[in-house]
C-alpha cells in the first residue's frame, strides 16, 4: 500500500498554488491528506503532481464579515472543535466537528478537504448545507461563489473544475430564534455515518431547512420543509413532524430499501427532537 510515484509541490501562496494547479497532467491538491492519503496508498488515484496547500496562511484565515463567518479552507476540524474560530452557530459547528472521526484525524482533516472530497457520509457536506453556507471557489482564471446546496453533485463529485480550489466557506450567523439539530448513526465511534439528519428550524420565521445525509449521493436538502411538519413550522414542530412524509420523500428520492428509509427517518426524527430540546 504505497502510492504510485508523483511530483510534489509546496507553493508559498494561493496564487502560486493556483498556477501549479493549472499545470500539465493530473494535479491533486493535498490539504489534511486524511482522505487523499488512503486513496493514494490504495492507488485509487495516481496524480502526476501533488500540490500541498496545508501550510498556506491565506487558507487558514478566519473572519466575521457582516452577517457571515468566513472560514479558510485549511481550517481543521480540531480548530473548530477547540473553539479557535468565532462561534456564529451557537456551538453547532463545534459539536459537529468534535464528533468527526478521531482526534488524530481531526487534527489534520480540513473543512475544505472534507467538502471537496464530497463523501456523502461526511459531516460537513450535510452540516453546511443545513446552515445555508456558501463556498468561495478560485482558479487561476478567477473566483466564484456557489451555494453549498448546489456544490455537491453526487458521491465524490462536486462542481469544482480542474485547476479550481475551494478557498473558504461562508457561514451565515445563526439567528437567535433558530433551532439546530444534528444526529448521525454510526456503528462505532469515529466511523463514517450511515445516516445523518441535520435541521435548522426557525419557528419565529416559520422556516426550516432539513438535510438528510449519508444517502450514497449528495444530501437530500428540503428547503420548503413545511410538508414535513404538517404544513407549517411552529413552536410545536417536534410533535408535528410527520415520519410518513419523510418516508415518502426518501422513496421518491430513490431509496428503495425499507430498512434504509427506516434508519434515515428515525435519525431525522431524532434531529428534530434535538432541535426542540
Amino acid at each position: 500500500m504505497k502510492p504510485a510515484p508523483f511530483a510534489y509541490e509546496r507553493p508559498r501562496d494561493v496564487a502560486s498554488a493556483l498556477a501549479a494547479m493549472a499545470g500539465d497532467g493530473v494535479v491533486k491538491v493535498m490539504a489534511g491528506g486524511q482522505s487523499l492519503g488512503p486513496m493514494l496508498n490504495l492507488r485509487l488515484v495516481a496524480p502526476d503532481t501533488i500540490v500541498d496547500i496545508t501550510g498556506l496562511a491565506e487558507l487558514k484565515h478566519v473572519e466575521v464579515a457582516g452577517e457571515e463567518l468566513v472560514i479558510g479552507a485549511c481550517v481543521t476540524h480540531a480548530d473548530i472543535e477547540d473553539g479557535r474560530i468565532p462561534d456564529v452557530t451557537r456551538g453547532a459547528m463545534q459539536r459537529v466537528a468534535s464528533a468527526i472521526a478521531y482526534r488524530a484525524v481531526r487534527n489534520r482533516g480540513t473543512i475544505g478537504g472534507s467538502l471537496s472530497h464530497a463523501d456523502p457520509s461526511a459531516d460537513w457536506v450535510s452540516t453546511f448545507a443545513a446552515l445555508c453556507a456558501t463556498l468561495s471557489l478560485r482558479s487561476a482564471k478567477g473566483a466564484r461563489l456557489v451555494a453549498m446546496k448546489d456544490f455537491m453533485l453526487g458521491a465524490l463529485e462536486s462542481v469544482l473544475q480542474p485547476g479550481e480550489m475551494l478557498e473558504a466557506v461562508r457561514v451565515p450567523v445563526m439567528s437567535p430564534s433558530a433551532r439546530w439539530g444534528y444526529v448521525k448513526s454510526c456503528r462505532k465511534t469515529g466511523e463514517f455515518a450511515h445516516a445523518i439528519g441535520a435541521v435548522l428550524i426557525d419557528p419565529e420565521a416559520g422556516r426550516a431547512r432539513v438535510v438528510i445525509g449519508a444517502v450514497e449521493a449528495a444530501p437530500i436538502i428540503v428547503d420548503n420543509a413545511e410538508e414535513l411538519f404538517g404544513g407549517r413550522i411552529t413552536n410545536d414542530f417536534k410533535s408535528r413532524f410527520d415520519a410518513r412524509v419523510a418516508d415518502t420523500l426518501l422513496s421518491k428520492a430513490g431509496m428503495s430499501d425499507a430498512a434504509d428509509r427506516h434508519i434515515h427517518v428515525t435519525i431525522l426524527r431524532r434531529a428534530v427532537a434535538e432541535a426542540a430540546a
Binding site: L42, R187, K188, F192, A259, I263
Partner: protein, 793 residues
C-alpha cells in the same frame, strides 16, 4: 458500568512467585516504544518484496506478462525450481490433502494468492514493479458458499478430489433415546468469516550467513521451531541450515501460527540473490489474502424435558476451511473440534454430530483464539436459551440443571473429554447474582424511557487447553506436542537465564515464567531473563498455541529449575562441607545445619573460582535442560460464565452493552493481573465476533470488506470494562495446579451477547442467530416481524 473489583489473591505465596501481580517485565521496552518487531529490523543491503496477487478467486493462469526491464527482479513459480508446496495432512480417515503452491502454478484458488514476487530497494518501488506485471487469467466459477459447495455439481476447488470436502467427521451415541423428548428446538446458526487482525501483521526478513552456512529468517511467529520444520521440508534443507528468529510479536491469535508461502518465497529469494530481503504484510493484504477464521454453520436440534433437563443434541455442522490446508494445523482441526466439544460443559446423555470441512475459493481458515469453541458456544448457548424460552424457565436455571457438578469431577463427558476440576455451577451462580437478573427482569417489565429494549444473556463454556501427545497424535497433523523442554542456567553473577521454545506474542511470558523460576529458586525476577523466539538458542517446542504456555513451558521451567536447584545443592553442600542430604534450597540460598551459601556465591565459585571446589564435586554444572508433561496430557479445563446486559435500539438496531460480568476459573493463577489482561483482550475480540467483524464475499469469491473502514473492529469505546471474578480450582494434573487461560475471553461473548439481544427482542418475536449481530440484521429482523404481524392481522 462498574469497574473491576480489586481482586488480590487470598495470600500470594510471595511478592514475586506464583500468584503475585508482578508488573510485566517486557512492558518496560514495549511501553516506551522500544520493542523490536520484524518491521524494526534493519540489515545492510536489505531490499523489499511486494507480491503480485491474484485479483480473482478461481482462475486458470494462461500467462504472466513481465515487462522486459523487470525480468531479473520478478519471479514466478517457474523460477522456484525444486521448491515443494506446503502440505498439511492429517491422519484422519478420508482426509483429502491439498498442495498450497508457494507461487501459483497453473491454477488460482483464492483472491490474493501469490502469483509473482517483485524485489526492489524500497517497498514503493517493488509495488510499482508489481503493478506493471499483468496476468492473463481464465476465470472459473467461484466456490463462495460452503453449503452450496457441498452440493453435487458445484465447481471444484481441487478437481481431482471429485467434491469439495476436505473431511467429514462423525460421532453418534444413543441419539435415538432423545427423540421422544417433549421439547425439540431446531435452528440454523452461523458465525461470519473474520480476519484475526493483530496490531502487527505478518512480516518476514530472510538473509543468508555464509560463515554459518545458515539461512536466518526473522518472522513474527508464534512457533519458530514449527516454521523451521515446515521450511526445511519445502526447501529440502537440513534443519541445521535454518535459523528462525521471532522477535517481539504484536499479537498472534493464530494468525502467526502458520507457515507462510511468503516465508518460503523470501528464503528462496535471499539465497538466490545474495542480499537480505523483507516483506511486511500491509493491512490490505491481511484483510484480503492471508488467512481467515470462524466461519461455521450449524443445523442443530436440542432435545430437552419440560424441566429443562437436556436429553440430547443432533447437529450437522459445516466449516468453511478455504482453499488450502495450512501448515501445521490443517484444514480440519476446526470442524473435527466441533464434533468433540459441541456438548459443552453439560451432562449430555445422547449426541449425534456430523461435520464437514469444506474447501472454498477463500483464503485458508486458521485456528483463531478460542478455535472452534467460539462458534460452538454461540450455537449451543443460543439453543439453550431457546430451550429455556420453550420450557418457560430462566435460562440460568436450565444451565444449572445440566452443568457438570463439582462432585462429579474429574468427569468424562459423552465425547470422552476429561474435565479435570472445577465448580461450573458456582461460576454461573456468581455471574447471575452479579448481573442481577431479577433486577433486570423488573426493569424489563417497567420499560425504558428512551424506548430501548433491555435484555440479559448468559453463556458458559469450558476450554480444553495444553492438550498434549495423546490428543494430537490422534489428529495426525504435522505437529504433535511431546514433553515441553526448558533450560535454566545460572550466570556467573548469580542471574538466571531461562530458555524456552514457546514464544510470547503479548502474553507476558517473560514475566510469568520468571515468576515460576522465582518460586523454584528464589532468584529475583529482575535478575531473570527469558530467552525465546530463536531456534538457535532455545529447546525445540511446538510453540505458543492452545493456551498451553503456562502449563507446558511453566511446568518445564519449574522442572529445569528444580534440576538446577539439585545441582546447586550438590555444590552448596560441598562448600558448606555437609552431606547433600542435609541441605535445602530456600529463598535463593542453600542452607545447611550450620550455615548457608547463596546461589550467587555458588555460581561465582563454580564459574570463576573453581579452585575453591573439591575435586569430587558433581560435574553436572549450573545449566539444566529438562522436559515436562502434566500427569495427564488430555488437557486442563478452564471455564467461565459470562453475563451481559444490553440495550437494543429497536429503530436503528444498535446494540449497546450496559454491563458485563465474567466469572472465570483458570486454575491457580501465576499472575492474576496478566490473566485479567488476557480476559480483557479476549473479551474485545469476542465483542468483535458478536457485533462487528465480518468478511463477506460476493458470488465471484471477492472479499468485500477490504479496508478497516469496512471491516469493523471494536475500539476502546466499544469495549466495556467488565466486572471480573476469579475462582481458582487447581488442576490436579499440572505443576502448581495451573490451567490454560489465554483464549477463554474470546469464546463466550458472542453467545452471551446474542442471548441478551434475543432476550431483548423476544417480545417482538425476533431471533438473531447469525454473528455478527449488526444493526442492519437486527433492524431487518424487527421490520420483517412487524410486516409478518401486519399480514397476519
Amino acid at each position: 458500568m462498574r469497574n473491576e473489583r480489586d481482586i488480590s489473591p487470598a495470600a500470594p505465596a510471595s511478592k514475586q512467585g506464583v500468584g503475585a501481580r508482578v508488573p510485566r517485565k517486557e512492558d518496560d521496552r514495549l511501553m516506551r516504544g522500544r520493542g523490536q518487531f520484524v518491521g524494526d529490523i534493519r540489515l545492510a543491503g536489505l531490499q523489499d518484496v511486494a507480491f503480485v496477487r491474484s485479483p480473482l478467486a478461481h482462475a486458470r493462469i494462461r500467462a504472466i506478462h513481465i515487462p522486459e526491464r523487470y525480468r531479473d527482479v520478478v519471479f514466478t513459480s517457474a523460477d522456484l525450481v525444486g521448491i515443494k508446496p506446503i502440505r498439511a495432512i492429517t491422519g484422519l480417515a478420508g482426509f483429502k490433502p491439498s498442495d498450497q503452491p508457494i507461487l501459483a502454478t497453473d491454477k488460482i484458488r483464492q483472491v490474493g494468492e501469490l502469483v509473482a514476487m517483485c524485489v526492489a530497494p524500497t517497498r514503493a518501488e517493488a509495488e510499482d514493479i508489481a503493478a506493471s506485471v499483468t496476468l492473463d487469467l481464465e476465470e472459473l466459477p467461484a466456490v463462495y458458499d460452503m453449503l452450496k459447495a457441498r452440493e453435487p455439481g458445484s465447481p471444484l476447488v481441487h478437481e481431482h478430489w471429485g467434491d469439495n470436502v476436505f473431511l467429514e467427521s462423525f460421532f453418534e451415541l444413543d441419539i435415538t433415546q432423545a427423540l421422544d423428548a417433549p421439547i425439540k428446538v431446531t435452528r440454523e446458526i452461523s458465525t461470519a468469516r473474520q480476519c484475526m487482525s493483530p496490531l502487527e501483521g505478518r512480516g518476514v526478513i530472510a538473509t543468508f550467513d555464509h560463515r554459518l552456512d545458515q539461512l536466518t529468517l526473522y518472522t513474527g511467529s508464534q512457533m519458530p521451531h514449527i516454521v523451521r520444520n515446515g521450511l526445511s521440508d519445502c526447501l529440502e534443507m537440513d534443519q541445521g541450515q535454518i535459523r528462525i528468529v521471532s522477535p517481539d510479536v504484536g499479537g498472534g491469535f493464530g494468525h502467526k501460527g502458520i507457515l507462510l508461502p511468503e516465508e518460503v518465497c523470501l528464503s528462496w529469494l535471499t539465497m538466490k540473490r545474495g542480499f537480505p530481503v523483507r516483506w511486511i504484510e500491509d493491512r490490505r493484504e491481511h484483510l484480503v489474502a492471508s488467512s481467515n477464521c470462524r466461519e461455521h454453520h450449524y443445523k442443530i436440534t436440542v432435545y430437552a424435558d419440560r424441566d429443562g433437563t437436556l436429553r440430547g443434541i443432533d447437529c450437522e455442522a459445516t466449516v468453511d476451511s478455504g482453499a488450502y490446508s495450512s501448515y501445521p494445523f490443517s484444514a480440519c482441526l476446526e470442524a473435527a473440534q466441533v464434533v468433540s466439544i459441541l456438548p459443552g460443559p453439560y451432562q449430555m446423555p445422547a449426541y449425534r454430530c456430523r461435520t464437514y470441512s469444506v474447501a472454498t475459493n477463500k483464503c485458508p481458515i486458521l485456528p483463531y483464539r478460542g478455535v472452534a469453541r467460539t462458534g460452538v458456544c454461540f450455537a449451543l448457548e443460543l439453543m439453550l436459551d431457546l430451550v429455556a424460552a420453550e420450557a418457560g424457565l430462566e435460562p440460568g436455571n436450565v444451565r444449572l440443571r445440566n452443568l457438570v457438578r463439582p462432585e462429579q469431577m474429574p468427569f468424562d463427558n459423552i465425547t470422552k473429554k476429561h474435565f479435570d476440576s472445577g465448580d461450573y455451577p458456582e461460576a454461573l451462580r456468581r455471574a447471575v447474582a452479579q448481573i442481577d437478573i431479577d433486577g433486570i427482569r423488573a426493569r424489563q417489565r417497567k420499560g425504558e424511557d428512551d424506548g430501548r429494549l433491555i435484555g440479559v444473556g448468559l453463556s458458559i463454556y469450558c476450554e480444553q487447553a495444553a492438550h498434549g501427545t495423546s490428543v494430537y497424535s490422534g489428529w495426525g497433523i504435522p505437529m504433535v506436542p511431546g514433553h515441553e523442554q526448558a533450560t535454566a542456567r545460572l550466570t556467573p553473577d548469580g542471574g538466571l537465564e531461562l530458555k524456552v521454545g514457546v514464544h510470547s506474542h503479548g502474553q507476558g511470558l517473560e514475566t510469568t515464567l520468571s515468576q515460576v523460576a522465582f518460586e523454584m529458586l528464589g532468584v529475583d525476577v529482575a535478575k531473570i531473563r527469558v530467552v525465546h523466539g530463536d531456534t538457535a538458542m532455545t529447546p525445540y517446542s511446538t510453540g505458543t498455541w492452545g493456551s498451553r504456555c503456562m502449563v507446558m513451558a511453566g511446568g518445564a521451567v519449574a522442572t529445569a529449575c528444580h534440576e538446577l536447584g539439585e545441582r546447586a545443592k550438590k555444590i552448596g553442600a560441598k562448600l558448606l562441607q555437609v552431606d547433600e542430604a542435609n541441605v535445602v534450597l530456600v529463598d535463593g540460598e542453600i542452607r545447611g545445619p550450620n550455615g548457608s551459601v547463596t546461589l550467587k556465591e555458588i555460581a561465582h565459585t563454580w564459574y570463576r573460582r573453581p579452585q575453591d571446589l573439591p575435586g569430587d564435586v558433581d560435574p553436572g554444572g549450573l545449566e539444566a535442560t529438562s522436559g515436562y508433561k502434566p500427569q495427564r496430557d488430555s488437557g486442563t479445563f478452564s471455564y467461565a460464565a459470562h453475563a451481559v446486559t444490553v440495550a437494543v435500539d429497536p429503530d436503528l438496531g444498535d446494540v449497546e452493552i450496559l454491563d458485563y460480568v465474567i466469572v472465570e476459573d483458570g486454575g491457580v493463577l501465576v499472575n492474576p493481573m496478566i490473566v485479567d489482561g488476557q480476559i480483557y483482550g479476549g473479551l474485545a475480540q469476542g465483542i468483535g465476533t458478536a457485533l462487528y467483524e465480518e468478511m463477506p464475499f460476493d458470488r465471484a469469491g471477492q472479499p468485500l470488506n477490504t479496508t478497516l473502514a469496512d471491516y469493523l473492529l471494536p475500539g476502546p469505546t466499544e469495549v466495556p470494562m467488565p466486572w471480573l471474578d476469579h475462582m481458582e480450582t487447581p488442576s490436579p494434573y499440572t505443576k502448581f495446579g495451573v490451567k490454560g487461560i489465554g483464549e477463554g475471553g474470546a469464546i463466550a461473548p458472542p453467545a452471551a451477547i446474542g442471548n441478551a439481544v434475543n432476550d431483548a427482542l423476544r417480545g417482538l418475536g425476533v431471533e438473531m442467530l447469525q454473528s455478527p449481530i449488526t444493526p442492519r440484521r437486527v433492524l431487518e429482523g424487527i421490520l420483517a416481524a412487524r410486516d409478518a404481524k401486519r399480514t397476519a392481522a
